[in-house]
Amino acid sequence: MIKLTYRDAVRRALADALRADENVIFFGEDVAEAGGVFKVTPGLYEEFGGERVMDTPISEEAFIGAALGAAITGMRPVAELMFADFVPVAMDQIANQIAKYRYMSGGQFIVPLTIRAAQGAGAGFGTQHSQCVESWLLNIPGIKIVVPGTVKDMYGLLRTAIDDNNPVIVLEHKVLYNYAEEIDEAELTHVPLGKAAVRRVGKDITVVATQLMMHRSLDAAERLAGEGIDCEVIDLRTMIPLDEETILESIAKTGRLVIVEEAPHAGGWGADIAALAADKGIYWLDAPVKRVNMGGALIAYSPPLEDEVVPNVSRIADAIRAVMRA
């Protein structure tokens, strides 16, 4: 058994991918010589050299587009966007090029590229450096979206993303970088995309969450267990493709659903889960489907405001209690 952090898992996945396939290359701003602003990638440049691990100028559109150009000509690039809040800077390349390149050409290309970015609030970085961005990317067929919440998933999903012949956006939660697990190294293996994980089995209510919200939901579930409420907590792991089956099976059992999003309410990914329940799960539902999220708020710098805007264990527990009472 070794103790590994989520941060280590990223680094290890990258290193193993670079070792496994010489077409894998990795670039981004200050990822090479400096090892990344979140200190996620030190040592890769030293081990794999400047031809495979490269620093870029501050020009997200160009280097994300270059990842596309490299991917369709035989490389398997991994590009780091640093803060996920910078996704909009490269949005045309993501939404109009990367996602559509295979389609527009009638299937002439594979696009085996991975974009990594750090998302999430809780670290005091303010309005423009704290957002979760998966909900900005859902309505774009052609890309896959991965949101690892555990150390093993961080490793395994990133490995699978890099091996995938489609563009995959891997969003790492920056507050989880220091999160550690004791694991058996043999467990560090590929994790398939599109398969949710039931993190806690329960019979009374289904809670769907990811990343930090998944951990807080598990804490809320423990708290509620003492009150006799038995929660099932589902970690989506990938947003696209979405594991509808696991969600529906759980609702069939519990008849109740709460979704916990680190995102504003309108257009949040949780709406898709609620819509799924309202369609294919409707006959099982015994209560309103509630979403716990940031409502209409933006993320402010001020510590008490930032702490308030992101759903915490109490708010999650309250929502679960309310749905149980309904």
Binding site: G69, Q108, F109
Partner: protein, 326 residues
């Protein structure tokens, strides 16, 4: 204007002339198809600019790659796309270059290195940078060329791409077809400098201005920069001064042109220029030229008739080529 007096071998001239006539004939027919409603949406013709496509394509070697714009029929044919693939694609037929999914603005043929025409102004530049990165990393000695208009030289992706290519010393040629207009705006209304080529100095790379109506001249100047790039000396910005004889797209009659401007440029028709030079050098006479032109016109008509009878893709094709499965 750089002028280069060295005549190309007779066979090369013959090939270039033939290709220009093919492009011209195809586009004239396409305009008709658009008016007949067999081509939907929009088309952007490069009539008048054929020497650019043909002169550049003549420089390319197997393994070299290209990205270009919605005004891409000429680039595609010059690179070697078949007339059938082009015409079927124009009409959205299953036997088109992109199985009908791309259409006029997305002529793509990976098998000949044509990595895609793009309908988002400037988006093809980063993609070309990435393709050139592959060549550098795989040490193939290949280059990538990317075409764009003078209007595109004002968008961020232009700047970021030239900078990234320069700092990474990539074998990519940025080829600006300055046809004086971006849509309905004369370049001087949107661009505060006379020559786009001067912008090369912002990246420490060569920037040259070339007579884009003279296919031989284009060939020589681009050749020199291509050799340089193949030797690992990095990118260049090449501005081809040219003119589009038709409107921007579809039914645009180009009322914004000053009186007499078109007439002046018609005297510098790239086909005329090469033809007269060949006649002067005893490599062609008027009858041969007319025969060539007519035979090409006939072939184009035949291909168009063939394409009209080709089937559309089945509706299931909608859901294919979005993701690579496997």
């Amino acid at each position: 204007m750089t002028q280069n007096g060295i005549a190309l071998p007779a066979q090369m001239r013959q090939d270039m002339l033939k290709k220009m006539l093919e492009i011209r004939a195809a586009e004239e027919r396409i305009q008709g198809l658009f008016l007949e409603n067999l081509v939907r949406g929009t088309t952007h013709l490069c009539i008048g600019q054929e020497a650019c496509s043909v002169g550049v394509a003549a420089v390319l070697q197997p393994g070299d790659t290209m990205t270009c714009t919605y005004r891409g029929h000429g680039h595609a044919l010059a690179m070697g796309m078949t007339m059938k693939a082009l015409m079927a694609e124009m009409m959205g037929k299953a036997s088109g270059a992109c199985k009908g999914k791309g259409g006029s603005m997305h002529m793509t043929d990976a098998s000949i290195g044509l990595l895609g025409a793009n309908a988002i102004v400037g988006a093809q530049l980063p993609i070309a940078v990435g393709a050139a990165l592959t060549s550098r990393l795989k040490k193939t000695g290949n280059i990538t060329v990317t075409f764009f208009g003078e209007g595109a030289a004002n968008i961020g992706a232009f700047h970021e791409s030239l900078n990234l290519a320069a700092i990474w010393k990539l074998p990519v040629l940025f080829i600006c077809e300055n046809n004086l207009y971006g849509e309905y705006s004369v370049w001087s209304k949107t661009t505060p400098v006379r020559d786009i080529a001067v912008r090369a100095s912002s990246y420490g790379i060569p920037g040259i201005v070339v007579d884009g109506q003279d296919a031989e001249c284009v060939y020589h100047e681009v050749s020199a920069m291509a050799e340089r790039a193949r030797r690992g000396e990095g990118p260049a910005l090449i501005e081809l001064k040219t003119y589009r004889f038709r409107g921007h797209s579809r039914t645009d009659q180009a009322p914004y042109r000053p009186k007499g401007e078109l007439e002046e440029w018609l005297k510098r028709d790239p086909i005329l220029i090469l033809k007269e030079r060949m006649i002067a050098d005893g490599q062609l006479d008027e009858t041969e030229f007319e025969e060539l032109r007519e035979s090409i016109d006939r072939q184009v008509v035949e291909v168009v008739e063939w394409a009209k009878t080709e089937p559309y893709p089945p509706v299931e094709a909608l859901y294919e080529d979005i993701y690579y499965e496997g």
